[in-house]
């Protein structure tokens, strides 16, 4: 199995680092930058042990995210999937989420994908308590987003859904992961 860029999918994403040797020089330029930024000794700026590289930001997670979306859709396409009379995930919401996952930059971590009781699908990047970013679609060509950057620091709103990721969402994700 390969990623969209032809890289092999290796199942160690969740750990964030690995002991597996990796052919790093074959990576495309944008990924290489991510590799290099994660592979320098903080004090000397010399390359660190190549056997322990943080690969999470450098691997295309799109296929894995789409598989996760498929699982959620399959399981929650019936009413009352949550025990509280939830609506089934709509086909439209599924396609919107699928489209969004394909165009989100892989430089951010893979989101947690889950169903919402109104038939929508939510993508969540959860860093820690009070620090998270959520993008939600419910098949009406509207993206709802919520960004939380501390207990009293947040924004939320909606954007029309076209074929690109709204700037406010990209900026919110950058903000979440820049701290």
């Amino acid at each position: 199995m390969q990623t969209a860029l032809g890289l092999p999918i290796i199942d160690f994403f969740s750990s964030g680092s690995t002991d597996v040797k990796f052919d790093y020089w074959k990576l495309p330029g944008a990924y290489l930058d991510a590799f290099l930024s994660n592979s320098r000794d903080e004090k000397t700026n010399h390359a660190t042990d190549w056997n322990k590289i943080n690969l999470e930001r450098a691997i295309d997670w799109t296929n894995r995210a789409l598989e996760s979306l498929d699982e959620v859709y399959e399981k929650c396409s019936v009413a009352n999937w949550d025990g509280y009379n939830a609506q089934p995930i709509s086909r439209e919401a599924y396609f919107e989420a699928s489209k969004l996952l394909r165009i989100l930059p892989n430089s951010f971590p893979i989101p947690d994908i889950g169903p919402e009781p109104d038939g929508g699908v939510g993508l969540e990047w959860y860093k820690e308590k009070w620090f998270s970013f959520i993008v939600s679609v419910n098949g009406k060509n509207i993206i709802t987003y919520v960004g939380r950057f501390g207990k009293n620091n947040h924004f939320y709103g909606t954007e029309s859904y076209n074929n690109s990721v709204p700037e406010i969402i990209l900026n919110g994700l950058k903000r979440l992961f820049s701290n």
Partner: protein, 130 residues
């Protein structure tokens, strides 16, 4: 003992969880999705002064069986956690004397609803079903 219809700020309430995407075992947290309302209400139970077994029994006997779902976990909150978000708790004893609903969700404001649900989720204490 008859329950009061008024819920005090110090009362403990719980949201039973039946879907594995509604909590994260590894991060020990409840997900916002578990608190999202359906038709303007989020069903909860008042569990003040109940033992752990009693709390799980309510979830099994009055929620899981009726909905034919497997009870996986629950998220406990203090009533004040809910009031602080501008939401209310309304007692609804038709099915069970300890049942209530979180109400007052801003209808039509999907962003704000998700925001409030994330806040409740972050305040909630996750308990996994033994």
């Amino acid at each position: 003992m008859k329950q009061k219809n008024t819920i005090s700020s110090a009362e403990v309430i719980t949201r039973y969880i039946f879907d594995k995407t509604h909590y994260a075992r590894t991060k020990n947290n409840v997900k916002y999705r578990s608190f999202l309302p359906r038709n303007g209400e989020t069903s909860i139970f008042r569990i003040n002064n109940l033992g752990d077994k009693q709390i799980w029994d309510i979830g099994e006997n009055y929620v899981a069986i009726i909905s034919s779902r497997t009870l996986l976990a629950r998220g406990d909150l203090i009533a004040s956690d809910i009031f602080e978000e501008g939401l209310e708790i309304k007692s609804d004893t038709r099915e069970h004397k300890l049942h209530a609903n979180i109400v007052g969700w801003p209808l039509g404001e999907r962003g704000k609803i998700i925001f409030l649900a994330t806040n409740l989720a972050d305040k909630a204490q996750l308990h996994l079903k033994p």
